[in-house]
């Protein structure tokens, strides 16, 4: 038998359900621009029907619909996209970081300007050439010393700047390690909450959005990957080593010093990310900058030995002093190359002559100027200029490649993000249409209550009053 009060109940349930749906729509609209937000939807279904017996069939004669109910708040998701998106993003970030650091190096070396090291090298060789033209001229000699000192200083300054950039990268690395540890703690805390909400039977949609955002940032930093367990826990790992398991975090630690290394605190295993900002920073700090520093060192070392060997075999202007060094023989690195005290501030002691007691002999200066053409670098296959020009070209290619890869991977990440956004993003027109839908449904439900009310009014106040 139908009960008239059921109708009132159905209207009430409809009103409440549409209200919930409207609230979810509001939530979507409110979060339309929230990063990492995935749209939600109130999942409605018909409530369990009421079974009532009939005259002819006493078991299940028919089912009477009992209105609507909101089962759950569904979240749109594309979990498998997240992994690919994060992977592309972390690779892009790694290359981007590398390109950023290299651009600093490029600006420091300033090779395309007149202040470049090649220009200084050229001035150095031309200086010897000019000295050979007029070896008795003290002004030319003083100019030669100045050119030597300028070359040494240019090498020093570049090495110092590179070391400084290297140390800057170190502080960036430490900062990012801290960020990873903080993120790990936050994810562990969210894991606990999410498991608790899930076990209570609810969907912790917004908490999951938050956690996904944190995992994405972790991927950007270090190429971390996450696996979501059945119970809702996220298992986060970097390069195969666990970072977060449930409520437990495994933190990273760093050694002190200017070039600190990163290791897992728990088991002291070295931390070597292959993707993400940290990978880019480590590559720049430990591979690329040292490579350029080494090339400057090789340049300095060969300059000192080659120039000194020739210079020591020549004679100073007095015609008898020989065995003098042009560069300080103890300063054989890019940081320490400098004029030797044999000649500093004593231009008359530059050994331009090959023969003793021959002031006009410029043959040693000619020999030194000819060093420019000597194949002394890179296993006697390149001149000084060629060697350094190659370093600059290689650096340029490195930057181009890093930029191209960064852009490439970013494009992949962006198109994956767009595909994901197409599913999980909030479309305001859709929400507006839904809002109207739910609003009208709510209005209809309220009208039902009025109908019920009128029916009850008839029953209560209008029935059985015949002849009253």
């Amino acid at each position: 038998m139908s009960n008239i009060l059921y109708g009132l109940n159905i209207a009430l349930k409809a009103m409440l359900s549409q209200q919930i749906a409207i609230q979810v729509t509001e939530h979507n609209v409110a979060n339309a621009t929230t990063p990492g937000y995935r749209r939600q939807e109130a999942m409605m279904s018909a409530d369990l029907p009421h079974i009532f017996p009939s005259l002819r069939a006493n078991v299940v004669p028919g089912q009477l619909g009992m209105g609507v109910v909101v089962n759950r708040i569904r979240q749109y998701n594309l979990e498998f996209f997240d992994d690919r998106y994060r992977r592309a993003l972390s690779e892009s970030k790694g290359w981007q970081m590398q390109a950023d650091v290299l651009r600093q190096v490029e600006a420091t070396l300033a090779e395309t300007s007149e202040d470049g090291l090649i220009a200084k090298l050229d001035a150095f060789w031309s200086g010897w050439q000019a000295l050979s033209n007029d070896p008795t001229n003290l002004a030319v000699r003083a100019d030669m010393l100045e050119r030597g000192a300028a070359l040494a200083k240019a090498i020093n300054w570049r090495a110092q700047s590179l070391v400084r950039i290297q140390q800057d990268q170190n502080s960036l690395i430490l900062q990012r390690v801290n960020e990873i540890n903080t993120l790990a703690s936050k994810i562990a805390a969210l894991n606990v909450e999410i498991v608790a909400v899930k076990s209570a039977g609810s969907a912790p949609n917004d908490l999951m959005d938050q956690r996904d955002q944190l995992i994405t940032r972790l991927a950007e930093l270090s190429g971390a990957t996450a696996a979501i367990q059945e119970n809702g826990e996220a298992l986060v790992s970097i390069g195969g080593h666990a970072l977060v398991i449930g409520a437990t975090t495994f933190k990273l630690a760093t050694t002190s010093g200017n070039l600190s290394t990163i290791y897992w605190e728990a088991d002291s295993v070295a931390f070597n990310p292959t993707r993400g900002e940290l990978a880019g920073l480590l590559q720049a700090r430990d591979v690329i900058i040292p490579r350029i520093l080494n090339s400057l060192d090789a340049l300095a070392q060969n300059l000192v030995s080659q120039v000194n060997t020739l210079h020591a075999s020549g004679y100073a202007l007095d015609g008898s002093t020989t065995g003098l060094n042009f560069f300080d023989p103890t300063g054989t690195t890019a940081l320490s190359i400098q004029l030797s005290s044999d000649v500093a501030n004593q231009p008359q002691r530059i050994a331009a002559a090959q023969q003793n007691n021959a002031p006009a002999d410029g043959n040693n200066a000619v020999a030194l100027a000819s060093l420019r053409e000597s194949l002394v670098m890179n296993g006697a296959t390149e001149t000084f200029n060629q060697y350094y020009t190659r370093q600059i070209t290689e650096m340029g290619i490195d930057i181009q490649r890093a930029n191209a890869f960064a852009q490439d991977r970013l494009d992949v990440a962006k198109s994956l993000d767009a595909l994901k956004e197409a599913v999980v993003g909030v479309n305001l027109d859709e929400e507006a249409a839904n809002l109207i839908k739910y609003q009208r449904a709510f209005q209809a439900a309220t009208r039902l209550v009025t109908v019920m009310d009128e029916m009850l009014d008839k029953i209560i106040n209008g029935m059985g009053v015949v002849g009253r």
Partner: protein
């Protein structure tokens, strides 16, 4: 595909960024006039530009060397021409002295004239070019020749040499050196000795060997004229070589400059038309972006 407002906005911003970046790059090109400003802009282009610029600078240094060498050689040339003239004059004077018709007094006058020629030869031997004595070998700081009166009889009779026969080399092209100086160590010594001998023979009136002495003095002078001429020819040949190399260096300098300009200078017409095109594109992107961002949503239309 489902499109959301966030996608529209983000894409619009992305396109604006991208086009602004392109505009910036073109603007950088046009205002700097260079195809590339950083090695990463064009690694291989920068490589060749750096090489070309190095070669240009070194060429300049070689040109400087060639120019100073050339002027030194011109000074040498002038000095040697004077030398042959003076030596010829000395020989003529000596020849005159051989005439039987001359008396002692006239021979003495000729001897006095030879003394003057001797002084002139000394001054030529001590020619200085920009502070360097060009016939001093490696010893260019002090006059390489002096005449002294060793027995204090009032005539200069000894040549004192303080120079040497050093050969000054100049690098005027990669791995190409030329000899810049002429060795005057023996030439001027022998010439001055020959002149002194002729002078002394002229003064030795009454000596039965006078004619023989004069004869051998003339022979000695002739040898020195030949030597001076030979030095002149050698110097001239070297001068031509230096001039040729200088010409070649100047030509290659021009070629290198145009090559460098081809490599790194922007084709302005092209760059400016790209820039204008890009400006139009950017304006269009802005216009489209404006519409995408402020597009009406259904909310605006619902009362």
């Amino acid at each position: 595909m489902r499109i959301t407002q966030r996608m529209m906005t983000e894409r619009a911003i992305e396109y604006m960024d991208e086009n602004l970046k392109r505009l910036y790059q073109l603007q950088e090109k046009v205002s700097s006039g260079k195809e590339f400003l950083r090695p990463s802009d064009n690694p291989s282009g920068v490589n060749s530009a750096l090489n070309l610029r190095s070669v240009l600078k070194m060429n300049n240094a070689y040109l400087d060397s060639a120019a100073t060498t050339e002027s030194w050689m011109s000074a040498t040339d002038y000095a040697l021409i004077q030398t042959t003239q003076l030596a010829t004059r000395a020989m003529n004077l000596t020849r005159q002295g051989m005439s039987d018709t001359l008396g002692a007094e006239q021979r003495n006058t000729l001897a006095a004239e030879l003394d003057m020629v001797l002084q002139q030869v000394l001054s030529v031997a001590n020619t200085s070019h920009q502070g360097n004595y060009i016939f001093g070998g490696f010893q260019t700081l002090n006059p390489p020749f002096a005449l002294t009166d060793s027995n204090s009889d009032g005539t200069l009779d000894t040549v004192v040499r303080s120079g040497d026969s050093g050969t000054i080399n100049r690098l005027i092209s990669p791995n190409l050196t030329v000899v810049q100086n002429v060795n005057g160590y023996d030439l001027f010594n022998d010439l001055m000795v020959a002149i002194m001998n002729a002078r002394d023979a002229l003064r030795n009136n009454g000596d039965p060997n006078q004619m023989n002495d004069l004869q051998s003095a003339i022979a000695a002078l002739e040898t020195q004229i030949n030597n001076a001429n030979e030095a002149l020819t050698t110097n001239g040949a070297r001068q031509r070589e230096v001039r040729l190399i200088k010409d070649r260096l100047e030509k290659s300098q021009i070629e290198l400059k145009s090559l460098l300009s081809q490599k790194e200078d922007v084709n302005m017409t092209e760059a400016i038309s790209y820039l204008q095109h890009q400006q139009t594109v950017y304006q269009t992107v802005l216009e489209v972006g404006k519409r995408a961002i402020s597009a009406l949503s259904l909310f605006d239309l619902l009362g």
